[in-house]
Amino acid sequence: MIKGTVTNKDSFLNHVAKSLGRPRTSTRIEKPVWKYSPQQEVFKGYSQDELVKVLKLQGERIHTDVIETLVKDLPRALENVVMGYGGDSVVTWADPRFEEFGLTMLLNEGLPSKQVDVHVWDTELGDKNTEIAERANVGITFSDTTLAESGTVVLFNGKGKGRAVSLLPATYIAIIPKSTIVPRMTQVAEKVHRDNQNGEQVASCVNFISGPSNSADIEMNLIVGVHGPIKATYIIVNDK
């Protein structure tokens, strides 16, 4: 990666330090040991099953259907949701989990046999992917981490995991392996922070998605589906 340029840094930061009434900081500053840490208390000690319950409840509040299924029933469950959304066209990530969870047949044969176009994100095709996603009816991704409290799927985008798959299609389906569910955003933030400190770069785009897009800008009434998907379904699957 070529380094970017930085302009006016010293004059600006010297001025900031001066305004603060001291010379510019040149040594490492450690974060203090915070006096409060309320985020650690949320759903502390909850089992995976209890977290699933929390997630399902939150799904209702954010206008998102939440379905629970076993790995062996996943293809049928996914097909049902896709067809329920009107079939037509699907775009998915290029993600080995589709195969691991036994979805290859459905994507390669099952859906096409029902006149559903399936496009798998293909880095070779460049911007063509975006065009296809823009016209697609359904976008499907796996969830990388899932937050029970807020009903959030966390997507670390990059390479085969295009940003547009969860954004441009009219509807969105997230497949949530049960093992990815954690209490809340705290756990993701801690992991990214740890990785970062170990020199591992965070993905260029991390999305925290909680249900369909919405707005309350017209007379404060909730309208679902403004720029992003109009409907969303989460399929929680018991891991293999």
Binding site: H15, S19, Y36, M185
Partner: protein, 476 residues
């Protein structure tokens, strides 16, 4: 439009605000809804006070070491291939942004809602070089389509317009043919804005929190417009006030949790997007070029003073939603893009006492704002400090010392009447809105409207009016 909205004197703005029953009703209903949302979300957490204290300690530490964390941030942004520009003034920021845009030969720019770009009048600077700048937040877009009607609320900028007015705006300006149903209006906006996103060469966003130790910017939205603006255009420019920064992901997480709860009572908004540099190698979508513009524009004047805590603000609008004065006079009365209690503290600091010395008096000092603030900024104490300084400087308080107090007392002198008036206004007023005038309302509203048969402020096209006015002046 810059920080300043309108040139009317404070008193006139207040009178205008008072005269608009729909606005008052809408403001009051929205305030109530947002406030209840916050209270429910707080209650659900159980230990909301600990959350607030944690937010406070994070903000305090970060601001005290602002130079350190900004340096860390920009070093990390540049490591990830992003370009950084530090702008002391609005002009410097705009010059840099317009240069980037020119270099790209860009004509169409999509923006997702951002206070700081309003503050520096970035849109005007871009329009001057011939660019089409499209606001993509639904509320902002509605205002833009309506010839730049000024916003009235930080999180709900088009709060002062009802759905019939929005339908008419769409019909008159864009040939919209459907009904005033919010879903149909939104669908129309979706279609129109999709085209804009696909055509735009540059996407411009604000920044809720920048994360120093990873070089990340975090955007919080419900509509997904910030995602669109950072997924489709090839160039992304993010503009941030220099104080909008946290040390690491761990603190970002806490402040986002506070922000979404305090702003809209949601655990998280539909989309939180954390972006680090331009798209990575092998990524298909996302910007090829990323620019971060860090803006001072008067903020450093607040550092190291008794007002430093004002920079702790995370722009949630909770203080606005509990403010009885705001409820009464509406957002436009503050004459600043920053309304409500935080606006009354911040506007004089950023814009000077000459323009904003009345604002610290637009408060009853009831402390509801301080109590609501998720990062515990002592807002009412800062307002008192302003008053002390103003009296010191001017030798006396502004003439109408307690104009807003009077306005406020008028409302509370007859609470039932006020409540009926404000709660029912949107429904009841409809048949009585004749052309652009609010005519006499029925029953209890009559007393409120009969003496105030003013043009409804929302139809006052500030820019047009202002331009004409300036022309007239230069003639004379």
């Amino acid at each position: 439009m810059g920080m300043k909205i309108g040139t009317a004197a404070f008193k006139e703005r207040v009178d205008q605000g008072l005269s608009d029953s729909f606005m008052r009703g809408a403001v009051s209903a929205a305030q109530g809804r947002l406030r209840d949302g916050r209270l429910n979300a707080a209650e659900e957490l159980g230990n909301w006070e600990d959350w607030r204290s944690h937010g406070e300690e994070i903000r305090k530490h970060t601001l005290e070491h602002l130079d350190y964390y900004l340096e860390m941030l920009v070093d990390n942004v540049s490591k990830r291939g992003g370009h950084v520009f530090f702008a002391q003034t609005a002009e410097e920021a705009n010059e840099y942004i317009t240069n980037v845009v020119k270099k790209k030969g860009a004509k169409k720019i999509v923006k997702s809602k951002s206070m700081v770009t309003e503050e520096i009048s970035m849109n005007e600077a871009l329009e001057k070089i011939g660019c089409d700048v499209v606001e993509s937040d639904l509320g902002e877009w509605i205002l833009q389509v309506d010839d730049h009607d000024p916003p009235s609320h930080i999180v709900a900028p088009a709060l002062h317009k009802n759905k019939e007015q929005i339908r008419d705006v769409f019909r008159d300006k864009l040939g919209y043919k459907n009904s005033e149903k919010p879903e149909e209006l939104a669908l129309f906006a979706r279609e129109q804005l999709r085209e804009e996103f696909l055509a735009a060469e540059v996407g411009i966003t604000g920044c809720n929190f920048a994360i120093a130790d990873s070089g990340t910017v975090t955007l919080v939205t419900n509509e997904g417009n910030a995602r669109m603006a950072t997924t489709l255009p090839k160039t992304q420019i993010t503009v941030m006030g220099m104080e909008r920064i946290v040390p690491s992901w761990e603190e970002m997480e806490v402040l986002v949790s506070l922000l979404t709860r305090a702003a809209v009572g949601q655990k998280l908004t539909s989309y939180i997007t954390a972006l680090t540099g331009p798209k990575g190698e092998g990524d298909v979508d996302g910007p090829e070029e990323f620019h971060l513009v860090v803006v001072d524009n008067g903020r450093s004047k607040i550092l190291g003073t008794e007002f430093q805590e004002a920079l702790h603000c995370i722009r949630c609008a909770a203080c606005i939603n509990v403010c009885p004065v705001y409820r009464h006079v509406g957002g436009h009365s503050y004459g600043s893009i920053y309304p409500g209690p935080i606006g009354a503290v911040l506007s004089p600091l950023l814009g000077g006492y000459d323009d904003y010395k009345e604002l610290p008096y637009a408060s009853t000092l009831c402390a509801a704002c301080t109590e609501a603030c998720p990062v515990k900024i002592p807002l009412h104490e800062l307002l008192i400090k302003h008053r002390q300084k103003i009296v010191e400087k001017e030798g006396k308080a502004p003439v109408f010392e307690s104009l807003s107090m009077k306005a406020f007392r008028m409302g509370t002198a007859s609470p039932t009447m006020y409540n009926i008036g404000s709660k029912l206004a949107p429904k009841m007023m409809k048949p009585f809105v004749k052309e652009d005038k609010i005519a006499n309302g029925p029953g209890p509203l009559k007393n409120w409207t009969s003496i105030r048969d003013f043009p409804a402020p929302s139809n006052e096209r500030f820019r047009d009016w202002f331009k004409n006015r300036e022309k007239e002046e230069s003639k004379s």
